[in-house]
Every structure is written in C-alpha cells, then in structure tokens.
Subunit: 498 residues, 2 copies
C-alpha cells in the first residue's frame, strides 16, 4: 500500500471509529441511559461531534487527500467519498455550525411546547430562525447552475439527487397513486383483527427475535433492544443495534418495526470486511438505506408468501387472539389502506402522498415562495386536497413530524425514494431468482438476504445510490415497478380492478 494512502487510511479509521462511538452514545441515550444523564450526554455528544468535525477539516487531511495515489477502484472510491464529506464540512464556518446547533435546540423545545399547546404559533419563530439558517447553509454549500437551494440540502441525505430530477418523478407518482387510493378507500375496509385484544409483550419480543433470525440478521454481530422510537444504530458492521417498540394493545409496531429495522440492520451488517473502518462501509444515501427497510417491511414482510409461512408461528404465540383469525383476514388487516393524518401510521399506498405533501411545502419554503407564517394553512389545504381531511389539531398536522424541528429539510423525499427503489430491487430479484417467492413461502429468507447482500450491501459506498440501482436493475429511479407492485398486490387483496 502507498505510504500516503496508509496514513490516509488511519485518518479514515479514526473518523469511522469516532462515528461509531457517536453511534454508541446515541443508542445508549435511547435505550439504557439513566434519565438524569441527559445533560451530560448532550455534552459528550457535542464533544465527540466537535472532534469529528475538527479532524475532518484538519488541513493535514486535505493535503493527504490531494496528494494520495489510489491504487485500486476501492481506494479511489474511499478518497472520493471522504473528499466530498470534507469539502462540504469545510464550506460551513464554525459560527454557522454553532448557530445551527443553538437554533435546533430552540426549535426542538419550541416544537415540543407547540405540541403541548396544540398551537403552531408557539413553534413558528424558532422554525423561521432555523429555516433562515438552513437557507444560509444551503448557499454556503452551493449548488449547480440551473439548480436551486433545495439541491444543496438534498445532498445531505441523497447525494446526487436534484429537484429537477425529483419533482417530475414525485408529481407523476402522485398522479398515479391518487386513483389507486380512491379505488381502495371506496371498497369495504378490512376488519381490524387486533382490536380489543391484549398481546403479551414478552411473546411479541420472542417472535420478533425469531423473525430477525429468519431474516439472517446476525445476533452475534448485533442486537435488538426496546425503545420508544425504533431505530437502527450501532458502532460497526459487526455491532449493529436495532430497537423495537412493544405495545400490549397491538403487535403491529413490534412486528413491522422489527422487520423494518432488521432490513436496515442487514444493510449495515453486509459491508465488506475490506471496507470496515473506511468511508465505503456506509450506504450511499438515506433513500437506498430506506429501500432495504421498506423492502423487508412491506414488499416481503406484508406479503402473502411471507405470512403463509410465518403466520402459524405468530398464531402459536397468540392462540386466543389469532388462532381463529384466518391468514386472509390477517393479511387484509396488515395491508389496510386508509386516508389518515399521520405519516408514520400510513399504509404503503398512501404513504408517498404524505411525502409529496411535505416535499411540495419544503421546496417553496427554501425558495422563499412560502413563508413559515403560511405553512400551517398550506399544510391543511394540501391535506384537504390530498386526503379530503382537515387536521383537528396541528399535532395531527403540521406539528406531527420532528424533522423540521431538527432542521432536517430535504430528508422526507428519501422515504419515497426508498419505496420506489424497494419495488424495483424486489422486481429485479424476482426476475433473477425465479424461486424467490417459493423460498419465502417456505420460510427461507436467505436467498432474499443474499441477493441484497451481493447487489447492495457488499457494494457499500462504491457508487451513488441511483447508479448502484441502475447497475443492478438496468434502470435508475422509476415508479414503474412500485406502481405495478401496488396494483398487483392490492387488486388481489381488495378484489378491485386497479
């Protein structure tokens, strides 16, 4: 190995280790940390993030990146990915980072108070401040000629994606979804087979661990714990931490939360040992990461083949609650399509409409075409237009998501991208492995995992997300597979022509 590359590699490893430890401290905060440690942990995380930033912008790292001679495609990719991260970090002055952190903290507190007061006005001033800073930051990052501010924020989550590319995709997706939603919501709704029953949380836990095992998630290189908001974190490909939420009144959050996070977790466990502690041991985008969780949660995890095997296991855990519920009734219930207020509870058919709604507000907010003072009205108008509903309280409307309080503008589209990619990847896997669904129906999920491992996980951050998908499926971002998947699945489930 080139001596310069070897020095650079140790810098990469140091950054990755720091990132891993930040992951540990964050995971611990949501799982085992005692409540009074809150302030101490905030300081510890700020110190770690400060050190990470300092090491990233260290001039010596810049010199190493400039002069290194990469000896292989992987080395070239490492240098490229770290270079991009460093360039972006260099563009944001320390004062702006500090101002953003303060504004985030204000906005989070304002958001919480506004939710308590059920009053968007309580959140408004802090959001205005944060938006102004995000616009400044976007300008500091910069964007291509012919592009716009929002591109610079998209780049945080979905490198390479642009408004110009995304807008028509989402517009077309919306256009295709509306009639499907209408048709399904006009049909008689499936029965709620979980209502008025209790589901022992210990039994839920044991079943979710069985599911993780079946998915091929390595519980010797990761673990599952409980948290209020499920997430995937950890410190390394061999130390992947999932959380799930147990609710005695319904097993759905645990079941589909575990499968969802398990999908993220398999991605993290699937990086190559050669990429450990380098920038390549990471997903190229949040959208591609989300494609894995959604593929497992929805495309596989809510499918008839999947439950034709696993349902009897679930029934054994809950004989009195589900013993007399047929597979058909169960499948109908876990795939119920409904116009609702809340994104996180939305089914996979309406879900993307929630995303498009937010995207159509975020872009004009960044452009300055929409003011924060008009945001609640705009939200409510769009909710009415999209779902025919008016939020009875902003808690079910403009205040429902934490993302804006975090300043995470540009994040929402990645959920939709994840949905679209998940359908394209699954369609491709099915073409390449004709026995795929038969395996799933036999309870063997490893062919699915191994196909994703080979085509997505092992690749790490060698290519940008859309390029990766294109190399696997032959095409990039498209709604064709997703719409075909929905029509096929839901026409069968609902017995309607879509």
């Amino acid at each position: 190995m080139d001596a310069t590359f070897s020095t650079l590699l140790s810098r990469m490893q140091e950054l990755k280790d720091l990132g891993g430890v930040i992951g540990l401290a964050t995971w611990d905060q949501e799982t085992y940390m005692p409540p009074k440690a809150h302030q101490a942990r905030a300081s510890q995380l700020a110190t770690l993030q400060g050190l990470y930033h300092e090491r990233l912008i260290d001039p010596r790292l810049g010199e190493l990146l400039a002069k290194v001679a990469a000896a292989s495609p992987d080395e070239r990719a490492m240098v490229r990915v770290l270079g991009v991260e460093r360039d972006r970090a260099m563009k944001v002055p320390a004062a702006m980072v500090k101002a953003m952190a303060d504004a985030q903290s204000q906005a989070l507190s304002g958001w919480r108070k506004a939710r308590e007061a059920k009053d968007f006005e309580v959140f408004r001033p802090a959001l205005e401040k944060l938006l102004a800073l995000r616009r400044e930051q976007a300008d500091a990052y910069g964007y291509e000629a012919g592009g716009e501010r929002y591109d610079a924020l998209l780049e945080n989550y979905e490198p390479g994606m642009r408004v110009k590319r995304l807008t028509p995709v989402l517009a077309q997706l919306k256009e295709k979804l509306v009639p499907i939603v209408e048709a399904l919501c006009s049909a008689p709704p499936p029965a709620d087979v979980f209502a008025n029953k209790k589901f022992d949380v210990e039994a839920q836990w044991r079943f979710t661990v069985e599911l993780l095992h079946a998915m091929g998630f390595d519980l010797e290189a990761g673990r599952q714990d409980k948290s209020i908001h499920p997430f995937t974190g950890g410190t390394h490909a061999q130390d992947v931490r999932l959380t799930t939420r147990l609710n005695e009144d319904t097993p759905l959050p645990a079941l589909f939360g575990t499968i969802h996070e398990g999908g993220h977790g398999l991605y993290e466990q699937g990086f190559l040992p050669d990429h450990f502690r380098t920038p390549l041991a990471s997903a190229p985008s949040m959208g591609l990461h989300e494609s894995q969780s959604r593929l497992w949660e929805n495309v596989v995890g809510r499918s008839r083949p999947f439950w034709s095997h696993f349902y009897s296991g679930l029934q054994k855990y809950f004989p009195s609650q589900l013993g007399h519920v047929s597979l058909d009734a169960f499948l109908a219930a876990v795939n119920k399509v409904e116009k609702t207020f809340v994104r996180v509870e939305a089914d996979e058919v309406t879900y993307n409409l929630h995303i498009v709604l937010r995207y159509e507000l975020e872009v004009p907010l960044l452009r300055g075409d929409l003011q924060v003072k008009d945001l609640e009205a705009a939200w409510n108008d769009k909710t009415k237009a999209t779902f025919g509903l008016t939020p009875p309280t902003p808690v079910l409307g403009v205040l429902q998501d934490i993302h804006w309080a975090w300043g995470e503008l540009g994040y929402f589209p990645t959920y939709a991208l994840g949905n679209l990619y998940s359908a394209s990847l699954y369609a491709c896997a099915k073409r390449q492995i004709p026995t795929l669904e038969a395996s799933i129906a036999a309870g063997d999920l490893l062919p699915m995992r191994d196909w994703l491992r080979k085509n997505i996980h092992n690749e790490g951050y060698r290519l940008e997300a859309e390029d990766r998908v294109k190399q696997v499926t032959g095409q990039g971002l498209t709604d064709v597979d997703f719409i075909a998947y929905l029509k096929d699945k839901y026409s069968a489930l609902y017995g309607v022509k879509l």
Copy 2:
C-alpha cells in the same frame, strides 16, 4: 472567570467527556456488546484513548496551564490535578505507549493460555517483557531521591504514596493480622447455610436493587446491569453504571457485590455539580475509592446492625432457603474466616495478607531483586508461610489475578489501603454520629451515605487521599482502627478473645 481559565476549562471538559465516552464503551463491552464486535470495539477504544492522549499532551494545553491564574482554591486544584496528569503523560514517549499496549495484549493472551495449560511458564516470557517495560516506564516517570522505582508505579493508583511509607504499615498490619487469623481459624468454623440450595436469580436481582435504593444510590442517575466480572463504570456523576453477578448456587456474590459496587457508585454520584466535567470530579486515589466500597460491603454490609434490619427482607425472597436460618447463623456464615488460596474469595480478615504477599513480590520484582523465573516459587513459598497452604495449581496461585497480565504493578496495595481507610472513616463517623448504628439497624442508611458524601464524595480531588482522610479523621493512614474493628467484631462473632 479569567479568559485563560475559561479556555482551559473547555479543554478540561473535552478531556472529561472523552473519558466518559471511554467509560461508556468499556461498560458496553462488558454488558451488551455483541460478541463479534470485539475487534471493532478494541479499535474504537484505542482511537479514543489515542485522542485523549493527544489532547492531553497538546502543547497549547501546556501553555494554558502555565499561564492561567486560578481565582479560587477549586480552580487551583483543577489546574494542579490536570497538570500532574499531563506531566506524567508527557514523560512517556509514544513508542513506549505503543510497546506497552502490545506487551499487554501479549501478556493477556499468555496469561489466558497459561491458565488453560495450568503452567506459569507459558505466561513467563510475556510477563518478563511487560515487567521490563514497566521498569523503563517507571524510570521515565521518575521518583524522588531516596525513593525507588515502585514509587513511580504507585503514583498511577495512589498518588503521594511511597514504598518508604507503605512498607512499615503493611509489615505491621501483617504482624497484627497473623495471630488474629490463627485464633479464628482454630475455632470451629461456622456452618455454610447456603450449601446445596438454589437461589432464584430474579429474586436476587430484585433484592439487590432494593439494597441499592436503601443505600441512597440514585437509580435515575445510574443503573445496575449484569456482567461476569462486577465493576463500577459510567460516563459522569449523573450516569454511574454498576454491574453485579448472579449465581443460582449462592446469593453471596450478588449481595456483597452489589453493596461493594454500590459503595463505589455512591462516590461517583457524590461529586459536586461545580466539579462536573473537571478533574475534580474524581477520586484522588484507588485506595480511597476502595475505602468506600469496602466500608459499605464489609464494615456496614456484613454487620449485625445492617442485617438485623435487612435479613427479614432477604428471607422473604428466599423463604424455603433461609426462613429457618437464624440471623446469628447467617451473620456467622457471611463472616466466615478461612485460609484460602484465592484473594477475590477471601474474607476481610485474611484479605490483607493476600495483598501483603503480592506487595512483597512486586517491590523486589521492580527492584530487580526477584526474577520472573523465580516468581512462582516465591509465590508458593509465601503462600506456605502465610497460610500454611501449597497451591495445587498455579491457577490458584501465581496465575490467579489478571492484574500483572494488564501490567498493573502497584495496584494491589490500594485494596489494603481501602480496607484501612474504611475502618478509620467508619470509626470517625460513629464518633461524630452517635446514632449511626441505630439508624443502620433501623434500615436508614442515609446518615451513613450523607456523612461520606459530605466528608469524602463532595470533596472530589481537592486533596490527595491521605490528606483528605487526615482532615476528616484527624489522622492519616493507620491500622489502628482496622485492627480494633476486626477484634471487636470477630471476638463477638467467634466468641474468642482477640
């Protein structure tokens, strides 16, 4: 606050935060980390420790320490403590740190293999290497004229302590202990009231949490978990992590392990908010830290007043196992004095003899008067002389402790210091609070905790350990209180004149 001090303070906070995160990663390693993460965690810890060291020896920190004008005694103490830590770090070149880490890793692996093979020779070469490096390191640290190498290592654990001061104290202690041990071991041994019984581990767990609560350990600012080797760690005074060990065959490790670690934990939770994230939020020595765990575990936790209240609670958890065991029989069993091979299982009377044995080997090892090749024979000779026993295997002899494999020479005496200080502190507390034992007998442990909090915990690292003890009790290191405590307690328990 002086501008220089304020800059220095942020450096102190950064170091303390890094130390806290190292604590978290270490705690996690022993509690929840998945097994395959072992290598990744080792890298992460090495990176954090490297960063800590780098920040500590940063020349800019040296300048700040040199030019700062402390405005209060606490500020002065912070500057002093950090200055000492930095000076010591500066004295050890990076190459020596690296060589030591490699030698430790070799020695640990050699120690494990030697235990498997039950053969000291397997460990010997690695220990020789490590000892040579420790001697080099001691010379790099340096020591006062008239002192010796071992002083430089003692300073790692018990700042201010010297061989010249310690040797006569330990020699006298041994001299006084020998006849006590002889008298007690000649008396009929108490019955083992735990033998051939099973103790549900969940019940053990619940009782230990009750004990922590009674001790005033704040479970909102700390937690208890399970681990193979119990320890106290954590990230901050408001995030203190204890572990305990549950064994179905006997409740003793859980009971006295929890009380012991709880004593350490109360110390950590007792630092002043004004000292958080500064060098003052730490104990001045391992010996003083150990005085807190030993005071709670032995002086309080194996006493008649303590169990006259808590025993009925324990009996409720284990009615069939202990319901018919009298308080007297229980107390006799948990205070059984016995000549044994293994330090960690030793009672409080013989315990210090195990320490003196190690001290009497370590000092000549460092001086070069004892060679590693002769260590096993020397160990066995001393075991014979002290306890009249010959280890049937080195696993019960020279290979029993991990400390030397860690290169931790100079650590053992701190256990004895902890025992001596614990008795002196308790005797002083009893003089100052005449109702202390009555409170304990009534199950109210808070007067004990609060006295320690005020006199020891809140003081943090304002003074060196012995100076602190002297300020509280009027005298420094002495065996007078410890011997008086043993004679008083064990003459009553064993009905013999001591």
